[in-house]
Symmetry: C2
Subunit: 158 residues, 2 copies
């Protein structure tokens, strides 16, 4: 088991767009039960089966196994709960940390979130000016919830 310690933020402005290389992610869930999430993801030319346990604060047990891309495509299109989540991810290295900025597509279009992986829950880090409100503990932003309740169905009107 790996331990995943992540904090998640909304993104403000467009300052992040020119940073990092964009890669298309396509992911779905064989289980979206928060106690035993099973995710299938294709990320560019790689694919993974990832299992996540219950969150405790910002920490979560995670087990990840690479699988062949064609088999991941079979699982996504044949077995995973519909609809799938598609997003464009940019990995942005800044001052010793890596931000992952996810720009959602489809029913979640308009949503952009940034995650930072930390070594401990209280590790300090710099926030670039395009980082907005923290949503680490807001379940609406869990990817496994964005399937059933996409952003378009609950975002505040502009």
């Amino acid at each position: 088991m790996g331990l995943e310690i992540e904090r998640k933020f909304l993104v403000a402005g467009d300052g992040w767009r020119a940073l990092g290389e964009a890669v298309l992610l396509r992911q779905g869930y064989l289980s979206s039960d928060p106690a035993r999430v099973v995710r299938v993801r294709i990320e560019g030319e790689r694919a993974f089966l990832t299992i996540k346990g219950k969150s405790q604060g910002a920490t979560r047990g995670e087990w990840e196994y690479p699988i062949p891309v064609p088999e991941a495509a079979e699982l996504l299109d044949g077995l995973c709960q519909a609809p799938l989540i598609e997003k464009i991810r940019r990995r942005i290295a800044l001052k010793g940390h890596t931000w992952e900025v996810d720009e959602f597509l489809g029913a979640n279009a308009g949503l952009v979130v940034a995650e930072i992986e930390l070594g401990s829950e209280d590790e300090a880090f710099d926030k670039p000016d395009w980082i907005g409100q923290e949503v680490t503990h807001d379940a609406r932003y869990f990817n496994s919830n964005l399937i059933r309740h996409p952003y378009s169905s609950w975002k505040d009107p502009a």
Copy 2:
């Protein structure tokens, strides 16, 4: 994806006990939804993560990935739906086919089933005299159902 074509039978008598080598299996489920079963299994010194799709007749899509035994143990004890299934499996080669005879333990003690893997749904095979009634399509005998409804809760009184 592999295609799994299996027929399942109850076992009568004890003629199978002297055949094949016995290995202990310990397995649990991250998803027991029949449309997307995710199983974790330790089988002796090996462990697997196995995904199964919906059954169509005796045929079912199956994707299997080896994982380290200690990680399988973490998943079984920390994340899988309780209780786990434990059984002793004997692989018995007879006339060109392999029978898997599973002797269940714990809440399913008393249940013994035999499965044969076939190349096609109508492939012919010999039945040894310890093979009883066919239960391929009887959902009570699905391992994923034996968690919630163990054999001890519904077997006919002797």
